[in-house]
């Protein structure tokens, strides 16, 4: 589903986290939201997800985002930066929580729920962990389980904040492929990423934020240029191509 924000502003008590921002994102794409620390990336994501008070409008698909929590929950799935798992449930049960927006009160899991859960676990490679308690997992395993929970919602818009931060290179690449595959099924994936290399390689679109403002928005090769990185990150990158895909590696800090 496509997403469109108009003059979306997030104001906390003493400061403006996100200046009025207008963006339009198409479905079937992976959008990387990047920028230095404190740029407002997480706040923007939360504002779209409806988790922080904001002004401006958010439109999902053809209509304004529904005010009904359940309807909104079926449209947008959200995964925060360090997702919590307060009770040591089994992995399968935690992933199953992703089906809450679809389940009527007091009902049992339906076949489509079970299918979504199994698919989400398969996509993130955690099927073997299904019967383990979540407090016995390693950091990386738990990250993948949490992503599985978000995937299980099967929402047309998926917002993820630092989905690969705790993962080893193998799983980092796997998860980026999962996100790409998810988008390929006509969904919109917006991911806050710190890793510019991954952003450049896997995203169809990159949005750079700096001090609460969207300062760049476009294809990775255009946006993640040496100039952008020098200006907003104060780093000198190494730029190249591998098999037609852009390679961006921050190389040296600048004064």
């Amino acid at each position: 589903m496509s997403l469109r924000c108009d003059a979306l502003t997030v104001r906390y008590r003493d400061r403006v986290a996100v200046r009025p921002s207008s963006i339009a994102l198409a479905r079937g794409t992976v959008v990387a939201l990047v920028g230095p620390n404190g740029a407002g990336k997480s706040s923007l994501l939360k504002a779209i997800a409806g988790l922080v008070p904001c002004t401006g409008t958010v439109q999902a698909g053809e209509q304004a985002l529904s005010t009904s929590p359940r309807s909104r929950a079926r449209t947008i799935a959200y995964l925060p930066q360090s997702p919590a798992a307060h009770w040591p449930m089994k992995v399968r049960d935690l992933v199953a929580l992703g089906r809450l927006p679809h389940r009527a009160f007091g009902s049992a899991l339906r076949p489509e729920d079970a299918a979504a859960i199994d698919a989400a676990m398969r996509e993130t490679g955690v099927t073997a962990l299904a019967e383990r308690a979540v407090d016995e997992l390693s950091g990386g395993e738990l990250s993948r389980v949490q992503l599985a929970r978000a995937l299980a919602v099967r929402a047309p818009i998926l917002l993820v904040d630092e989905p690969v931060a705790a993962l080893d290179p193998y799983h980092q690449l796997e998860i980026m492929h999962v996100l790409t595959d998810y988008a390929a099924r006509d969904a919109l994936v917006v991911a806050v990423l710190h890793d510019l290399t991954l952003a450049a390689r896997f995203a169809h679109r990159v949005i750079v934020m700096h001090e609460g403002e969207v300062v760049a928005d476009g294809r990775p090769e255009q946006v993640l240029s040496a100039e952008t990185l020098r200006r907003y990150y104060h780093v000198e990158p190494f730029l190249s191509h591998v098999a037609g895909q852009p390679l961006v590696v921050p190389w040296r800090t600048l004064q």
């Binding site: 997800a49 359940r70 079926r74 925060p80 089994k90 809450l100 009160f105």
Partner: protein, 330 residues
């Protein structure tokens, strides 16, 4: 809910069996000067003893114990902490203070129903104060701090009232009442507590799914369609109402709300929603069983129920804290 019943049927079977064992035994055991009395006494008195003495006591034990267990489970789900207890919000101590005020002004003498009404007024006042302190958009930490403040205030006011008690006997009566007891309660007390408990139970049941969603944290819960603030006020409101009603009729009975959900949590796969009803049943069983133990003691003045639950619960609580510290969690 039928889905949960099907999924956890062994647990429900065990709890219902325990109930079916404990309740008839509790109805059949009384207490006279010579100690425990089995059966219903002489035939002319049997119906009076059964209907007016045993039945209200066991029924109230079920309702109050169930309420305590349910509130404990809901509160632990809300606070995401297995060490949470219903007394935390200040509802128990507010209710106790309300009752003490009634004693202090001598209103309770000869009219025991005014006492529960005073307690309910106290618990609702505590809730209103909590609401005012923590605000409508109160975050969880704010609620906890407000609860601590209200507890401290209620305890201080209760001590003040005791200080000015009209006689040492009045002070003693209050202190003994606060220890918690089911002795000599009547069906009138059941009729007083139930209309308050029923809506409270419904509120807590309505929060079930929200509690599940909170397992993932407040942001994710919101994104799944369950506003954490709604869940919070359902649990707080329901708990204050139910605990107020319970304290009003039995005094302060602690630790049931801590122990029961804790023991049953693993059996329901740690799902907060699946824990609610089993905690109700478990709390009912535990309370009636504890009261039964009291009646089986050798002859002498009756032990207070709150004392028994504290003697069982406090070591358990200590064990939990030690275990949590060893696991590096608390």
């Amino acid at each position: 809910m039928s889905a949960a019943l099907k999924r956890d049927w062994p647990l429900y079977a065990a709890l219902v069996t325990a109930l079916l064992v404990v309740v008839p035994v509790a109805l059949g055991v009384g207490r006279t000067s010579g100690g425990p009395a089995f059966g219903l006494g002489s035939p002319e008195l049997a119906s009076a003893i059964f209907l007016e003495i045993r039945l209200p006591r066991v029924l109230l034990g079920l309702l109050v114990g169930g309420t305590l267990g349910l509130c404990g489970a809901a509160l632990q789900g809300l606070l995401r902490n297995p060490l949470a207890e219903p007394g935390l919000l200040g509802a128990s101590s507010g209710a106790a203070f309300g009752a003490v005020l009634v004693f202090y002004f001598g209103l309770a003498a000869g009219q025991s129903l005014l006492l529960p009404l005073g307690a309910v007024a106290g618990s609702l006042t505590a809730l209103a104060t909590l609401y005012a302190l923590a605000g409508r958009r109160g975050d969880l930490l704010g609620v906890i701090l407000a609860g601590i403040a209200i507890n401290a205030l209620a305890a201080a006011l209760t001590s003040l009232a005791l200080n000015f008690a009209p006689s040492p006997y009045a002070a003693l009566e209050i202190l003994f009442w606060m220890l918690g007891s089911l002795a000599d309660r009547s069906l009138a007390h059941v009729a007083l507590a139930l209309p308050l408990m029923l809506p409270a139970w419904i509120m807590l049941g309505a929060a079930a799914r929200g509690l599940d969603a909170l397992t993932l944290g407040e942001d994710v819960a919101q994104s799944l369609g369950y506003d954490p603030k709604t869940t919070q006020w359902l649990v707080i409101g329901g708990t204050a109402l139910a605990i107020g009603a319970a304290v009003a009729v039995t005094g302060v009975v602690g630790f049931v709300g801590l122990v029961v959900p804790h023991v049953l949590r693993r059996a329901v796969g740690f799902h907060p929603s699946r824990l609610l009803l089993p905690s109700f049943l478990g709390g009912a069983v535990l309370t009636v069983a504890a009261d039964l133990v009291i009646r089986l003691m050798p002859p002498g003045p009756e032990l207070k129920l709150g004392v028994v639950t504290a003697l069982l619960g406090a070591p358990f609580f200590l064990h939990l804290v030690l275990r949590a510290r060893r696991a590096g969690v608390a």
